[in-house]
Amino acid sequence: MTGPVVAIHDLRKSFGSTHALVGLDLEVQAGEVHGFLGPNGAGKTTTLRILMGLLRADAGTVSLLGGDPWQDAVALHSRLSYVPGDVALWPSLTGGETLDILGRMRGGDDAQRRARLVDAFALDPGVKVSAYSKGNRQKVALIAALAADVELYVFDEPTDGLDPLMSEVFRTEVSALHRAGRTVLLSSHVLAEVDAVCDRISIVRAGRIVESGSLAELRHLQRMTIVAVTGHELHGIEDVPGLADVSYDGTTLRCTVEPAHLDELLSHLAAAGVVSLESRPPTLEEMFLRYYEQAGDGR
């Protein structure tokens, strides 16, 4: 396999007068767990549906596992598995029947692997889907997807409706896929989950990607939070560029600083005699909120 598993360039899609995607770019490399972040309505599900060959792109290029997701849908689908955002199953079938049928339609799955997953997720396969809770229906779709031994796994809001225990099982399974060298594209707005399992993320807003990179890279580009206590009073702190959210009570300084100006801030602090210093990279949540707050334009 050469080249990225998913390569999307300048993707556009409109539904009537609604512009869902306006030039979206996304690359997922083989072997990475890629987080696809964005609030509801940002275009995540539309992108994934285009990748699954369900929707046809208006413009742009999309390559999936080296093929065209619209033309080669059936052939590509035997090499991937997908959990849609809204899991709906057949109420008159049992969970076990559903797993069998979905597995066969995908081209066969590993019985042993599936049995292990049914166990891990604590699913009772003899119960009709109509009697399952929302979380149990979600588990059926997750087990069906995870039981397939394929190159790419695509999840749209996979832990929606799962309890924290089962969400943890899901994270463990994704980590195992990662170790086995599989590629995972995970759309989510559960940031803790993305933080725990993803090594690269793309943030989508109003139909285009606003940031993409490894979590470490993104953090380096972002403001750090600084809490410092100095021996003497600080002077001229307002002259340091790139500071924000500043509060100073005479001894303790709290602020955020752009990485480029960290050096200047530190020399000011050193001049005032640093007693203690805490620095913290931004949490994913802070980064995420910042992208959306920056965009005062709305959507």
Binding site: D86, A88, W90, T94, D100, I101, M105
Partner: protein, 553 residues
């Protein structure tokens, strides 16, 4: 028509152990139901009333003199088939009496089904799909959703009764008779709203609740038909709401108390439903949830096999129903032939339907098998429209993300619709012919003839069923409305065309209008081949469409 909505105090006496708060929020939910069905309710109510009016206004043109009408009554009342299905004629001389006889039972039958499905739609369907949980989380009593559902059904019937009574009176049919006919039809249908309020408690799915309610309607209708078909007066005509409706004798010395009987039974059934609804757990039914098999048989490995697995129970129910109907028709055929043989007027009417002189038994055969075509189309359309439900509910997305093609997906419920409707034609014909043959002494021969006569409608049924399949492939939002419009057109033109005085070309404008009436008339292959080719072309357009369009849309 508001018998199911007695003052809250009455309800509380009957439901003495249920807290008054069980009905909290009924008014708001009723407004919600009326808002959701602001088109559906008036269309069915006014449409059914207009059908009555259309039939009523045709008699003066078709049978202007008393002599004509007596003739009609003599020739038709003797025919056990018609008497079974339509009930007795109480006053053949008045336009009102003829209208009550010709259209009363069919209107009550249609409204009974419409209103029971409406009750299920606003009770069990909302519950099974999880919407009710949202509603009950608000300050709403446990019995309130069902109470609102029943009241919305009563509102539909009330609207029908008022419109029908006003229009029939305006035609000069007599105010008392018009009020009696409109209210007895509505009251009979209201009993089945009560039945549905119970079946919605018994079954856990809306499909199950609808099926049970439909079964009760069918059994009630069959019992009345059987009673009417007996010589003399069978007590069975007093056994069901359809019988009470007919025996109300609208326009012929009305028995008003029978309307009251329907209302009381409707209220009792509704209260029983409310009693259960106020006490059971959300999502629970009286039918215990069974455990199922833990694995699927190996033949289910694609969308087509999956559709057969999902649709098989539904198909079997329809096959049993059509076999029962065929047996009922077959058992009446011999008597019908004997009665009509000495009646040249009746022979002339039948020959007019068949388009020329023919053997009497064959004439009856083609008349009776004609009904199977509409039934098969009804099954085919409802099954084909499951494709649309699969898409809207999101299950299509799951299937299409596997290594199965869009065409395979379309041919899933598409194939059960086409093949299943063909099976319905075959089974209906076989059953009719076999039962008729048993009295005729030639079981195999008659079964074969009736089966062929019925199966000749297959290309016409395929064309009607291919339309919703093709629309799912091309213009999915139009699939349901267009499919039902086509079926209504087939029923109106083919079944009521003569009564409504539609021109011949319009009566024959449906696919069924082109089917050769073999064995009553000579066989002709051309229309069958043309219909089959049209069906194939429509289907091909759907297949081309599904490969191009966004899904879900």
């Amino acid at each position: 028509m508001t018998a199911t909505a007695p003052p809250a105090t009455h309800v509380d006496i009957v439901l003495s152990r249920a807290p008054r708060s069980a009905f909290a929020g009924t008014g708001g939910l009723l407004r919600l139901a009326l808002r959701r069905d602001r088109i559906r309710i008036p269309v069915w109510a006014v449409g059914s009333a207009l059908l009555l009016v259309a039939v009523a206004s045709s008699w003066d043109r078709l049978y202007p003199t008393d002599a004509d009408r007596l003739n009609l009554a003599q020739s038709l009342a003797g025919d056990p088939t018609l008497r079974s299905i339509l009930g007795p004629i109480f006053d053949p001389l008045s336009t009102g009496g003829l209208t009550a006889w010709r259209a009363g039972t069919s209107t009550a039958l249609v409204l009974a089904l419409v209103v029971s499905f409406l009750v299920v739609r606003h009770s069990r369907a909302d519950e099974a799909e999880g919407r009710m949980e949202l509603v009950l989380g608000a300050a709403v009593g446990r019995a309130a959703p069902l109470a609102a559902a029943i009241l919305s059904g009563a509102a539909l019937l009330g609207l029908f009764a008022v419109v029908a009574a006003l229009l029939l009176s305006a035609l000069g049919l007599g105010v008392a008779g018009s009020v009696a006919l409109a209210s007895t039809v509505a009251a009979a249908a209201l009993v089945f709203a009560g039945v549905a309020s119970l079946t919605a408690q018994i079954a856990r799915t809306s499909r199950g609740a609808n099926g049970l309610a439909g079964l009760v309607v069918a059994v009630a209708f069959a019992v009345t038909a059987f009673g009417n078909g007996q010589d003399g007066t069978s007590p069975l005509v007093w056994a069901t709401p359809f019988g009470w409706m007919q025996q109300t004798r609208a326009y012929a010395d009305e028995r008003w108390w029978l309307i009251g009987l329907s209302l009381v039974v409707a209220a009792a059934l509704a209260l029983a439903g409310l009693h259960v609804a106020a006490r059971r757990d959300l999502g629970d039914g009286l039918v215990a949830q069974r455990r199922g098999r833990r694995s699927a048989p190996s033949w289910i490995a694609g969308p087509v096999a999956l559709a057969w697995r999902l649709d098989r129970t539904y198909l079997v129910v329809w096959l049993i129903a059509v076999a029962a109907l065929g047996a009922l028709e077959g058992s009446m055929l011999t008597t019908s032939v004997q009665l009509v043989e000495g009646n040249p007027e009746m022979v002339a009417i039948l020959e007019k339907i068949a388009g020329g002189p023919a053997d009497l038994r064959d004439l009856f055969l083609v008349t009776m098998t004609g009904l199977f075509g509409l039934i098969a189309a009804g099954f085919g359309i409802t099954t084909a429209l499951r494709l649309r439900a699969e898409e809207e509910d999101g299950r299509a997305e799951l299937v299409l993300s596997t290594a199965r093609s869009r065409v395979q997906w379309l041919l899933g419920h598409g194939s059960t619709a086409l093949v299943g409707s063909t099976l319905i034609l075959v089974v209906g014909g076989l059953s009719l012919g076999a039962v008729f043959g048993a009295s005729d002494g030639d079981v195999v021969g008659q079964a074969w003839r009736a089966m062929l006569a019925s199966a000749l409608m297959a290309p016409a049924v395929w064309l009607v069923v291919a339309i919703p399949i093709a629309l799912v492939g091309t213009l999915p939002r139009w699939a349901a409305p267009v499919a039902w419009l086509v079926l209504v057109w087939c029923v109106l033109a083919g079944y009521f065309g003569q009564v409504l005085g539609l021109p011949d070309w319009l009566q024959q404008s449906t696919p069924f209008g082109h089917v050769p009436l073999w064995p009553a008339q000579p066989m002709s292959w051309t229309p069958l081949v043309v219909l089959a080719l049209l069906a194939a072309a429509v289907l091909a357009a759907g297949i081309a469409g599904i490969r191009r369009r966004d899904l879900p849309r």
